[in-house]
Assembly symmetry: C2
Homo-oligomer: 280 residues x 2
């Protein structure tokens, strides 16, 4: 039986982020993807030209159509837009008892456009985190959610502890925005241990949708039965390959190549050995 | 450089049809997919529970975001909903001089729900067909567009001639709805020759999104540089495999398995030899 995953997020017309990145990534993992749209955006590699929210009732009806008919192996949330849509999502998670819930707290697009109303941060913390299995903020998102200023690894650990206390069973704070080093270190906190995942940094402007792609790969892996630690490791390699083999589409921040891992199996296997993992 | 394709269609929350089927199919062909949504639907294998049209201005803005930033190798249209949205699409095709335009004239969902206002049929014929490289109706759609009653292969040929006269450079009338035979014969008319493609019929209830999937595979093949005839043949095999290896998700008409061709390369190569092709 094929495994399934659901993405609840916005649509990126440019195909590099949002439900498009998620569905492509699920497909690359051999996982059957479904989707509930929270907003339609007109977007390309240069920025977001338009945002058209989908009414909360329509978000709810999509989730009902899915939940009433399908078994869902894992759920990923992306751009949730505002408080009302978050409440609809939380309600569906409760109703259908969905597990393996991955929350990518999308707030700001690569170009700087806001994708989550500020008033919704508290709703996300209060209502969504208690049903979250893994939350995957980058450093600016972790700062926005916790109110902390994150400069050091110690700050990151503090933010992870706060997000875990708020209810997220596991927290991954991604290190991509910390460009002080030649490596990217992602930090996983499961409430007991801090686990670090390190790979070399790739100099690339083609980073549109990296956050969606990482979280979608992680979601796929959970649907396929991976442990959290394995899922984080494999997702890191998936997105690393996707950036490395990007095709520089468009004239701004190009999308990643979601098919890179499959197209380059040898390099991918090599990366599995190269990624440094340690814990404390 | 990676090839690209654009789908202009509705969103199927269940993931088996609409832009979801298209993006998955593009991805399976190694083609980078983009999308402009015309409507959001709440839908599963049992039917369509809700349709939420995207405003024509938002359709236009998505198309502008795409056309202003990306080179598009092929374009597929699916559910266009009504006259105004068709006009926006035609205008973008002219503006950006998009080629390899594949029109899947989606009208009715598998469950019987209408996905194209009847008043829009004429707009599709008058405005979209003149910029169409391939139109891919099934028999009921060909009947609705031409007003003909299609019972025999001779009727099908007459319908193909009419659609070609209306402007479509190539017409594929799919035979899936003609269940009088144990084979499925698809008919291609390029204005000069009638070419037939035959494979055994598969008994399956998992046929949700077959039309989208066929047209999306054909679109991918055109983007990759295949001739029309090769593209039709390969698309027929792609969707045949997708039906054959479907996983019976949901309790109604389940989605096809878009990853089947890649997962079963030997069977797929064998089908390439088995498909009967003849012309007159």
């Amino acid at each position: 039986m094929i495994k399934t995953a659901l993405t609840i997020a916005g649509s990126d017309s440019g195909g590099g982020a949002g439900i498009q990145a998620d569905l492509k990534t699920f497909q690359e993992h051999g996982v059957f993807g479904m989707s509930a749209l929270t907003a339609v955006t007109a977007q390309n590699t240069l920025g977001v030209q338009g945002v058209y929210p989908v009414e909360p009732e329509a978000v709810q009806e999509q989730l009902s159509s899915i939940g009433d008919d399908f078994n869902i192996g894992a759920v990923k949330t992306g751009m949730l837009f505002d408080r009302r849509r978050i409440e609809v999502v939380v309600s569906a998670i409760h109703k259908y008892q969905w597990t393996n819930v991955v929350v990518d707290p999308v707030m700001i697009a690569k170009g700087g456009d806001s994708l989550l109303n500020e008033t919704a941060h508290q709703t996300l913390m209060d209502q969504l985190l208690p049903v979250t299995d893994v939350i995957t903020p980058n450093i600016p998102e972790a700062e926005a959610l916790t109110g902390l200023s994150i400069k050091t690894m110690s700050d990151r650990k503090e933010a992870a502890i706060q997000l875990h206390k708020a209810g997220a069973k596991n927290v991954v704070i991604k290190g991509g925005h910390d460009d002080s080093t030649r490596v990217v270190i992602d930090l996983l906190y499961d409430g007991e241990r801090f686990i670090y995942f390190e790979l070399p940094r790739i100099d690339s402007k083609d980073t549109h949708g990296t956050g969606c792609t990482f979280a979608a790969s992680l979601t796929s892996e959970l649907s396929l039965g991976s442990s959290i630690q394995d899922a984080v490791k494999k997702a890191k390699i998936f997105v690393h390959m996707a950036i490395l083999k990007a095709s520089s589409l468009g004239s701004g921040h190009g999308p990643t190549n979601h098919g890179a891992l499959r197209a380059h199996p040898k390099e991918s296997v090599q990366l599995l050995e190269e990624v440094k993992v340690w814990e404390e």
